[in-house]
């Protein structure tokens, strides 16, 4: 079965804060480039109809751009390929 084209599983470095929150710090895109996450703006449970999946959505600031990073229940992280459009 063909995987959804807009769903990109990525390597993520994350940390647990002392109060138990999981906070992503940087992601490695499929071309190997490493992107630091400057800020996590928002965190909520959300489905992504575009990428195809659901989980905890982190709206992050990366190099001046908003990206949506999803943490799925299967412990994988994914990003929607074109992140400018809605989730």
């Amino acid at each position: 079965m063909e995987e959804a084209k807009n769903k990109v599983y990525v390597d993520v470095t994350a940390e647990f804060t002392p109060d138990g929150f999981l906070r992503p710090l940087c992601i490695v895109w499929e071309d190997g480039v490493r992107y630091e996450i400057d800020r996590v703006l928002h965190r909520e449970r959300c489905a992504s109809r575009k990428a195809g999946g659901a989980g905890i959505m982190y709206t992050c600031m990366v190099r001046g751009k908003h990206i949506r990073l999803f943490y799925e229940e299967n412990y994988k992280w994914f990003v929607t390929r074109n992140t400018d459009e809605g989730c």
Binding site: A47, G52, G53, A54
Partner: protein, 435 residues
């Protein structure tokens, strides 16, 4: 005060989860169907576009393809469906601890105690609907009512992505006008009998004489009467309430249709071995053996019988199951699924009445053999030791009898006992008779 009960039904569940994970198929007819290679080749769920084109649950894949040539088949991913089912229940649990699952995709919620802080039942229902849609990307239909039966009716009334309220004021307009088969537990056999009595709608059941229903259907007649009148008092069970194990069973869809008694015996043996092993593992013996049979047109039935000496011996269970099968199946059609269940459990250390005609020495030997086989299989895997019969058809006997598909079967409404209030009704009727 009336209870506030919601019934949440996840629409076209398996298909909706697959649609979410395959955005490239958005808006196209899609059906979740078993692997055609392993010949579990039936449609488990179709999405709405596919349903509109005539694809129905239970169709063989080739029939579905004939009805709708553009339909896309995806193999089922049970782990994914169980995960999303759990996520949905996590949402429900934020509103009440009284969440009672009914199968994988339905739940009852009693939100009576949440009304003071969350507003009306309708607003809770709307909030849950919106949250499941936003957070899980799935649609649900919700029925809101003052008892479980009408709530369930409401969730079926309008779908997908809708909320229906059934109140004491409108139930006669909505529920009573519906055909009788829309009521829970009115199946094919019951509806035939109801029709001969001139009962066609839910309202007809509600206004029928309870005595008549009792004489025709036994206690179940009174249950239906209370369902139809909205007097069903069954409570919503607390989430994950430890229900004591009442029975142990296994069922399977076979890799090919079963066409004769040898096939059936082989599969019943496999299932009985698995059931008996689980009985021994949990230190139970049972006094009731039941079978489940489904033919290749998906007509199914269950039969059970009490046995005099409680058992956890594979061979014995298989023999009882085979007897039951022989007495109840006339081979109108080949068989697609079989199940074996042992109920009325008691601890295996409990004493029991022997009888003169049963060879207890043999039983003891059989049990020892079973225990030895359990030990071998635990160490070296299931296939390390098999009955000779299994080698007549390794394709058929290779099926995984341990498959946990029993956990997805819909539960019985009466799993926690009959709590509908019909027993009280019967009691009062008897009292009136005595007077």
């Amino acid at each position: 005060m009336d209870r506030a009960i919601l019934h949440v039904d996840m629409n076209a569940y398996y298909a909706s989860v697959e649609e979410l994970h395959h955005p490239e198929f958005a808006g196209r007819p899609l059906a979740v169907g078993g692997d055609p290679e392993a010949r579990h080749g039936i449609v488990l769920t179709a999405n709405y576009p596919a349903k509109r084109l005539g694809v129905k649950t239970g169709m063989a894949l080739w029939q579905a393809r004939k009805a709708c040539p553009t339909v896309i088949f995806v193999p089922p991913r049970m782990d994914l469906y169980l995960r999303f089912s759990r996520l949905a229940r996590d949402i429900y649990r934020e509103y009440t601890d009284l969440v009672e699952p009914f199968g994988i995709d339905e739940s009852w919620l009693d939100v009576t105690q949440s009304l003071s802080c969350k507003g009306s039942a309708l607003s809770i229902a709307e909030e849950i609907r919106a949250r499941v849609r936003h957070e899980l990307g799935l649609t649900v239909s919700i029925g809101v009512s003052f008892n479980k039966i009408f709530a369930k009716f409401g969730s079926d009334y309008k779908k997908p992505d809708a909320v229906t309220t059934i109140t004491r004021e409108n139930y006669k307009d909505i529920v009573w006008r519906a055909p009788a088969e829309d009521l829970l537990y009115v199946g094919r056999a019951t509806i035939r009998k109801l029709h001969t009595l001139g009962i066609h709608t839910v309202g007809d059941i509600a206004t029928a004489e309870p005595d008549l229903l009792l004489s025709q259907f036994g206690k179940m007649g009174l249950v239906l009467w209370s369902f139809a009148n909205g007097t069903d008092a069954s409570p919503v069970s607390p989430y994950e309430a430890e229900s004591p194990i009442k029975s142990i069973g296994n069922s399977t869809t076979t890799p090919r249709d079963l066409t004769d008694e040898n096939d059936v015996r082989l599969v019943l043996l496999l299932l009985s071995e698995s059931v008996a092993a689980r009985l021994r593992e949990n230190h139970f013996v049972g006094r009731l053996v039941g079978i489940y049979v489904r033919d290749n047109e998906l007509c199914s039935f269950t039969r059970q019988k009490k046995i005099s000496i409680p058992t956890n011996i594979s061979e014995e269970i298989a023999d009882y199951a085979t007897d039951l099968f022989r007495q109840n199946y006339a081979w109108e059609r080949p068989i697609r699924s079989l199940g074996v269940r042992v109920g009325q459990l008691q601890p295996d250390a409990y004493c029991y009445q022997m009888d003169l005609f049963t060879d207890e020495v043999l039983r003891e030997k059989q049990l020892k053999v079973d225990i030895a086989v359990d030990g071998l299989r635990n160490r070296f895997g299931h296939d390390c030791i098999l009955r000779g019969r299994m080698y007549f058809d390794r394709y058929l006997s290779g099926l995984d009898a341990k498959a946990e598909d029993h956990m997805v079967h819909p539960h019985s409404y009466f799993e926690a006992g009959n709590r509908t209030g019909s027993e009280e009704l019967l009691f009062h009727m008897k009292q009136e008779d005595d007077v």
